[in-house]
C-alpha cells in the first residue's frame, strides 16, 4: 500500500492508490483509506510547502485487520484554512439522539463517520423520552391496527405509505436494538412486556422501566464509542450546511461547526450529511425539551434551500407545573418542564382559572376527562382571554394519603417550593413538547438537497400528520435512520469531491475582534430577545390561534428580529461571525417564522392546529403545509447561510 500526496498548484489534492489486487475506483477520499503510518511522514513533508495550507495534525486510527477492503479504518486529517480547520469524512451526522446514533452505527460499516453534537452526546430529546417505543410485537396485534391508530391520531393528514413503512418495519428495528444491548422489560414468560398508551388500541409499547429513551441512548452510545470508524465531536455546534448549486439542484457537501469549548471553527467536508438534530421546543417559554432543542437543523435546512413541512403542528402538554405560580420560585429557570400526569385529572383533579371558576365544562361535557388536546386548548383559551399566566389543578379534595401515595413526585416537587398539594391547587400551564413538522424527508430519509438526509424529530416524514401518536417518535427515528443508510452509502460511493472545495465557502469567524465588553452586551441583549420571542410565540402562536393573532406575531417577530440584528451589526458584528447564543437565536427566529407562516397557511383546524376563524376540518385542505426556500438574495441574517453559495458544476 502506498499513499502519495500531491501538492498541485494552490490546492492540496490527495491521490490515493491502492494496490490490493482489486481494482479500486479513485475516490480521492482520504478517510476511506487504511494506512499503516506512512502517511504521517509524507504529510509533514508537505507542511512547509504551502503558505496558507498547513497540515497540523494527522490522526491515524488502528485499521481493522480485515481482508475485506470494504471495511475501512479511519484517517482524519486536518488542514487549516486561514482561521479554521477542516476535517474530511464520508458521513457527517448532526445530532446524537437515537436517529443520529442508529444511522452512524450502520454507515460506519462503509466509511468514516463524524457525529457532531452541540453538547454532551446524551443531551438529546431521546434521553428525555421516557415512555416507550411503539411497535407491533404481539400476535394479536397487527400492522393495520397500528397504522389505523396512527392515522386517526394524525387527523388523517399522515402519509399512508410512510405510516405503512414505519409500522411494518418497527418490530425489526426493536429487535435490532435488543441485539445491540438495549434492555427492555419483559414478562415472566420471557416475552417483551408491552404497555398500552392513549390512542393505541393494542398493547404495543416497548419500554425499559420508565427510562426507555435513556436506555436506548445508552446502548447506542456504547456501541458508537466502541466503533473505530465513528468520531464523536461533542460541544460542536453546527452553524450552516455547506452547499452549492448544480444547475437547479442544491448539493450538500458538509457543515461548518463551532467548537464551543475552544471557540474554534471546524469545517466538516462530507459526501453525505444526516440531519438528526431534534426539535425546537425552545421557541416557546415553557417546554419539556432540554436546552439544546433550538431548531438548529430545521433552520439550517431551510437556509440551505430544503423544503420544510407541517411546522404548524406543535404538540403541547396541557399541564406542566407552572413555576410562576409556586410560592417559592425555583432559583434558576427550570430547563425542562415538570409534566403533571393525566392521572391527576383521571383521579378527580379539577381545573380552575385564577378566579377559582371551573372552566372545563364550558368547553366539553367530559370536563377534565376530555381528551388531552381539548384540555390543552381550553386552558390556552382561558389564559389568553383572561391574560393570565397559569391555571390551577386541584386535587386537594381527595384524601391526603391517596394523593401522597399516587403522586409523591408532584407532592415533593411542590413542597420544595412551598406548596402543599393536599391543601392547595397546583399551578399548571401548557408546555411545548414535540414538533410534528420539520425538514421534508421522503421514504429514504432524503431531502430536497442532494446528499442531505433527515431523520427523527427534525424531519417531517408524513408519519405524524397533524398530531403525534404516543411513542411513535422514537419509532420514527429508528425506522428512518435505518432507511437512510443504503441510499447514503450509494450516494457516498458515487460521489467524489475535490478537496479544494473546502476553500470555496467563506469561513465563519469567531468574534474575538469585538472585545469582551461588546460581546457581553450582545449576549445580554440576545438573552432578552430570546425571552421576548418566546413570549410572542406563546401569546400569539399558542394552542388556540387566529389569523389576526398570527399576523400580529409575524409583525412582532419581524420587528424583534430587525431590532436584534441591527443591534448586533451596529456593534461591529459581521455577517460571518458566530457565537453559540447568536447562532441559536437566529435559528430560533427562523423556526418561529416557519411555524407562523405554516400556521397562517392552514385555513382549517386539524389535529394540533386550531384556528378560531377556521374551527372545522376541511376535507379539501387535507394536505401537508409545505414551505419552499425563500430567495437567498434578500432576507435577514437568520434566513441566509453565513457564506456565499458557489455556483459551480464541477462539485459533484
Amino acid at each position: 500500500m502506498a499513499a502519495s500526496i500531491a501538492y498541485v498548484g494552490g490546492h492540496l489534492q490527495y491521490g490515493v492508490n491502492f494496490c490490493m489486487g482489486q481494482s479500486y475506483k479513485q475516490a480521492i477520499w482520504v478517510p476511506s483509506v487504511t494506512f499503516n503510518g506512512c502517511l504521517q511522514r509524507e504529510l509533514s513533508w508537505s507542511c512547509g510547502v504551502s503558505k496558507f495550507l498547513q497540515i497540523r495534525k494527522c490522526n491515524l486510527f488502528q485499521s481493522r485487520t480485515n481482508e475485506n477492503w470494504k471495511s475501512f479504518g479511519t484517517v482524519i486529517t486536518s488542514a487549516y484554512l486561514r482561521d479554521g480547520s477542516t476535517k474530511y469524512f464520508d458521513f457527517a451526522v448532526i445530532g446524537s439522539g437515537v436517529a443520529g446514533l442508529r444511522y452512524a452505527l450502520e454507515v460506519a460499516k462503509h466509511g468514516s463517520v463524524a457525529i457532531i453534537t452541540k453538547a454532551e452526546p446524551h443531551e438529546s430529546n431521546t434521553n428525555y423520552a421516557q415512555g416507550g417505543v411503539s411497535a407491533v410485537l404481539c400476535p394479536s396485534d397487527s400492522v393495520e391496527s397500528h397504522m389505523q391508530d396512527t392515522i386517526v391520531a394524525g387527523a388523517y393528514l399522515c402519509d399512508e405509505e410512510t405510516v405503512k413503512v414505519v409500522c411494518t418495519e418497527g418490530p425489526d428495528r426493536i429487535r435490532e436494538l435488543i441485539a445491540m444491548g438495549a434492555s427492555f422489560d419483559h414478562g415472566d414468560d420471557g416475552n417483551l412486556h408491552l404497555a398500552r398508551e392513549g390512542g393505541h388500541s393494542h398493547h404495543r409499547i416497548v419500554h425499559a422501566a420508565d427510562m426507555t429513551g435513556r436506555e436506548i441512548e445508552r446502548a447506542l452510545l456504547e456501541a458508537v464509542v466502541n466503533d473505530p470508524n465513528i468520531s464523536v465531536f461533542k460541544h460542536h455546534f453546527a452553524i450552516d450546511l455547506l452547499t452549492s448549486q448544480d444547475g437547479s439542484d442544491t448539493v450538500c457537501h458538509g457543515i461548518d461547526a463551532l467548537n464551543t469549548e475552544t471557540q474554534e471553527v471546524v469545517r466538516f467536508i462530507s459526501k453525505v450529511t444526516l440531519l438528526a438534530s431534534g426539535g425546537a421546543g425552545h421557541i416557546y417559554p415553557s417546554t419539556t425539551n432540554p436546552l439544546v432543542a433550538t431548531g438548529d437543523g430545521m433552520a439550517m435546512a431551510h437556509r440551505a434551500q430544503a423544503v420544510i413541512s407541517n411546522m404548524e403542528f406543535v404538540q403541547f402538554h396541557p399541564t406542566a407545573l407552572a413555576d410562576e405560580g409556586l410560592p417559592i420560585k425555583p432559583k434558576k429557570t427550570r430547563e425542562n418542564s415538570f409534566l403533571i400526569t393525566e392521572a391527576v385529572r383521571g383521579d378527580g383533579g379539577i381545573l380552575y382559572n385564577l378566579s377559582m371558576e371551573r372552566f372545563m365544562p364550558l368547553y366539553d361535557e367530559r370536563a377534565e376527562l376530555a381528551p388531552r388536546d381539548v384540555v390543552a386548548r381550553s386552558i390556552d383559551d382561558q389564559l389568553k382571554k383572561r391574560n393570565e399566566k397559569y391555571v390551577l389543578l386541584d386535587i386537594s379534595h381527595k384524601p391526603r394519603e391517596k394523593i401522597l401515595s399516587h403522586f409523591p413526585n408532584i407532592a415533593n416537587e411542590c413542597l420544595q417550593h412551598g406548596l402543599d398539594i393536599t391543601q392547595q391547587p397546583i399551578p399548571v400551564v401548557p408546555a411545548a413538547h414535540y414538533m410534528c413538522g420539520g425538514v421534508r424527508a421522503g421514504l429514504q430519509g432524503e431531502t430536497d438537497v442532494h446528499g442531505l438526509y433527515a431523520a427523527g424529530e427534525v424531519a417531517c416524514t408524513g408519519l405524524h400528520g397533524a398530531n403525534r401518536l404516543a411513542s411513535n417518535s422514537l419509532l420514527e427515528a429508528l425506522v428512518f435512520a435505518r432507511r437512510a443508510v443504503q441510499p447514503s452509502i450509494n450516494h457516498m460511493k458515487s460521489s467524489s469531491l475535490d478537496l479544494s472545495a473546502s476553500s470555496l465557502w467563506t469561513c465563519p469567524l469567531v468574534p474575538k475582534s469585538l472585545g469582551s465588553d461588546v460581546m457581553h452586551k450582545i449576549l445580554r441583549i440576545t438573552k432578552e430577545v430570546r425571552k421576548e420571542l418566546q413570549s410572542i410565540m406563546w401569546k400569539y402562536v399558542g394552542i388556540v390561534r387566529s389569523t389576526s393573532r398570527l399576523q400580529e406575531a409575524e409583525q412582532k417577530i419581524g420587528k424583534l428580529e430587525a431590532k436584534w440584528e441591527t443591534y448586533l451589526f451596529e456593534h461591529g458584528w459581521q455577517q460571518t461571525m458566530v457565537a453559540l447564543e447568536a447562532c441559536e437565536m437566529r435559528n430560533l427566529f427562523c423556526c418561529a417564522k416557519l411555524v407562523v407562516s405554516s400556521a397562517l397557511a392552514r385555513h382549517e383546524s386539524r389535529g394540533l392546529h386550531y384556528m378560531t376563524d377556521f374551527p372545522h376540518l376541511e376535507e379539501s385542505k387535507r394536505l401537508p403545509t409545505v414551505i419552499f426556500p425563500s430567495s437567498h438574495t434578500t432576507g435577514t441574517w437568520s434566513s441566509r447561510q453565513l457564506h456565499q453559495q458557489p455556483i459551480v458544476n464541477s462539485m459533484v
Binding site: 393505541h200 403533571i340 370536563a367
Partner: protein, 116 residues
C-alpha cells in the same frame, strides 16, 4: 347541542377523537351562567360517580399493590437469579412498581408524566 351521556364521561382518556370545541367567544355571560350551572351540576354528579368508581378501582389497586408488594418481596427472596420486581397482574419483570404507568393514557411515574 349537549350530547351528554354518562358513557362518554366514563370513557377512558385514551380516546382520540377529533372534537371541535366551541370557544366561548360569542356566548353571552347570562346564557353561560345558567348553562354552566346546570352542566356543572350534571357533570359534578356524574363526575362524583366517576370519582367513586375510580376510587373503588384505585382502592382495589391499592389493595392489590399492597398484596403485590408483599408477594414480590416473597418472590424476591425466592428468586435466585435476579431481584427484579415481578408485576403479579401482568407478569412484567423489572418494570416500574406501583400503579400501571399508562392507566390514564399517558406514561406517568409518581405523578410526573414523561410521555403522552
Amino acid at each position: 347541542m349537549a350530547k351528554t351521556s354518562l358513557s362518554r364521561l366514563f370513557a377512558s382518556l385514551s380516546e382520540h377523537s377529533i372534537t371541535k370545541p366551541s370557544f366561548t367567544g360569542s356566548r353571552s355571560d347570562s346564557v353561560t351562567r345558567s348553562a354552566y350551572n346546570s352542566v356543572t351540576r350534571f357533570v359534578c354528579s356524574s363526575a362524583q360517580e366517576t370519582q367513586l368508581i375510580r376510587e373503588e378501582r384505585s382502592n382495589e389497586g391499592d389493595r392489590e399493590a399492597a398484596k403485590e408488594n408483599l408477594e414480590s418481596v416473597n418472590k424476591e427472596e425466592d428468586e435466585g437469579e435476579d431481584g427484579d420486581h415481578v408485576n403479579k397482574e401482568t407478569g412484567e419483570v423489572g418494570g416500574p412498581k406501583g400503579p400501571e404507568p399508562t392507566r390514564y393514557g399517558d406514561w406517568e411515574r409518581n405523578g410526573r408524566c414523561s410521555d403522552f
